[in-house]
Amino acid sequence: MLELKNITYSYTKNKDVLKNLSLQFQPGKFYTIFGSSGSGKTTCLSLLGGLDEPKSGKILLNSKEIKEIGYNNLRRKEICFVFQDFHLFTHMTAIENVMTAIKISDRKISKVEMKKRALDSLLSLGLDEKDLNRRVTKLSGGQQQRVAIARALATKSTYILADEPTGNLDLKNTENILNIFRELVEQHNKCVIAVTHSIKVRDASDICYEIEDGILTGET
C-alpha cells in the first residue's frame, strides 16, 4: 500500500500547497485525484513518485518510508509515471522506449527477455506489430500514450502514477486508455493513480479523492 500520512508541503514559506493531507492507495484499484488547477493534485503525484520531499509528514510504501527505500529505487522498481505529454524518447522507436525502461528497472535482464517483455506489453495494449519499430513521433497521440503505459506495464511496477493521462487525447482514445487502466487494475492487480480534472476520468475510477487548496474535500 502506498500512503501519504499527514503531509504538508509548500513551495514558499507562507503558503502551504498541501495541508496535513492523508491518502491511501492499494493495488487492484483505480484512483483519481480530482481537483481544479492549483489545488495541489500534481504536487501529490510528485510526492508519491519521490520527485519531491514533503515539509512534514510521511510517505509510506508497504509501511516503509520511501525515503529509506530510495527515490531512484522507488521509481525503478515500484512506481512508474504516465504523463499527459507522454514523455517518450522521441529519437527512439516504441519498442526501444519500453526496452530502455525495462533495462533501467532491471539491470541484469537478458536482451532476449527484455525484448520479449517489451513486445508482450506493447502487443497486449493493442499496438500493431508494424508500429513497434516506428519512431514514436510517427505514432498518433493515443498510440504514444499506449507506449507510455506499456512502459509502465513492462517494468512490473505496481503503482502507475498518471498525470492528466487523457489531457491530450480525443474522446475515442480517452475511452481506450481508461479501458486499459481498468484492465491493468483488474487483470494485473496494478494500482493506477491518475491526477485529473476530467469528470470522465473521475467517473471511471474506483476511488476519487477530491482536493481543494491542498485539503481533502471529498472521497467517493
Partner: protein, 446 residues
Amino acid sequence: MGIGKLAFLECIRKPIKNIVLYIILSAIFTGILIGLRVYISAQHSKENALNSIGAFIQLSENYENRVESFQITSNMIESIVELPHVTGINQNIAEYAIPVNFKNVKAYSGERPDPNDKSYEEFYDITPDNIILDANLDNKSLDVFRLNQARLISGIIPDDRNPGLLIEKHLAEENHLTVGDPLILTSSKKIEISAEIIGIYETDAIFEITKNNTLGEGIFSMSPYNRVYSSLDIGIALYARSPANLCLKIIVDSPQNVDRVGKAIKMFDWDWKQYGLYNMTETYYQDHAQHIEELGNYSKMLLFYIFAIGAIFLSVILTVFSRYYDYDSGILLALGSKKRTIIFQYFLSTLYIVATAAITSIILAFTAASSLIEFILNSSNTVSFGIAQFENALMPDYSVYLSSLGIIGIGVFVVIIFVFLIFSCISPVYHVIRFNPREILSEKRR
C-alpha cells in the same frame, strides 16, 4: 538497452545536433592537427637549422664601443678553451689573393658574365683572376667540412701544426697541381708568399651565375672552386695581420649551450667595453632563418585562434541544444535512472562524436590538408635572402621540412581531444546536475 546503446542511439538519432557538433569538432581538430604539425615542423626545422649553423660565439671588438687597442691574448684563449662545452676555437682571415704561378678556375653554369662589364673595378682587389685565401686556425671546424659539403681527397687539412694550403679539385686539375707543389700568391698589400699544397678537397658546391651578377667577370673570384684554405700563419703573412687583432670564434658542443658558455665568458674579469661577445648561432639564425621563426609563430597563432573560435562555437552550439538534455534527463530520472548514470550516458555519446570527429580530422589533416600544409611550408621557404649574384650549395640548411607529429605531438593532440571532450560535456552535465526531477511534471515543460 545498455548505456552504451542508449548513448549510441543518442548520437545517431539526433542528427541535427550531432552533425553540427561533429562538423565543428572535426573542423577544430583538423585545424589543430594542421597547426600542431606545422608547429612541430617549424621546431624541427629550427633545430636542424641551428645544428647546421653550428654552435659558436664570437669574441671580437665591441662594435658598439670601438676601441683601437682591442687585442686577444693567449691567456684569454687558454681561459676560454678550459670552459665546459667549449670544443674548439678558430681565427680566420679570408681575403682576395692574386695567383702568380697558377690560374683560377673559370668554370660556371647559368648566365655568362659579360667580358665588357668592368663594374668589378669599383671594388677594391676584385679581379676576374683572383682567388680567395681562407686562412684558419682550425679549418676542420669550418661549415663546409663540419657539414661534409667538402671532403678531403688527398693529403691533410692544414692547421697550426700542419701549415700549408688546401685547394679544390677543379683548381688542382686545371693547373696540374698535386700535394707537395708550391703555390705563389700575392696580396693587395703587394706581399708575395710561396706555400706548399698539403691537401686537395672536393666539394658539392655548384657555381651558377645568376642574371643579377653585377661584377662582370670579377664574379669568378667568388667561385667555390677558387677558394684556397690555409693555415692561419699563411694568411697572417700574406695580409700582414696580427693574430691578436683577429676575432675569436669559440666553438660550443651544441646550440643549446651557447648562451651558457657566453655567460661563463662574461664572468671573466676583462674590459667588456673593449671586447664584444656575440652569439653568432642566434645572429645567423635571425639573419637567415627568420621564415622558420615566422612559421612557428604563425602556427601558434593558428592554434590560439582555433582554440578560441572553436570554444566559442562549441559553447554556442551546446547552449542552443541544451533543451535536449533537460527533456531526456527528466524522462530518465522519472524512470529511476541516477544522475551519475545519465551523466555517464551523455559522456559516452559525446565521446562517440568526439572520437569520430578526431578520426575524421586525422584523415583530413593527413590527406586533403597535407597539400595545405605543403603550401604553407612552401610559402615560408620562398622568403628571399636578398638578390643573389650567384648560387652555390655551400650554405647551412635553412629549409623547412614537413615533420610527423611524433610521440609528443600525438600526446598533445590526445590531451586536446580530451579537453574538448570535457568541454563538450559541461553543458549536458550542468543540465543534469541542476535539473529538479519535479520539473518533469511542471506546466512549463508542456
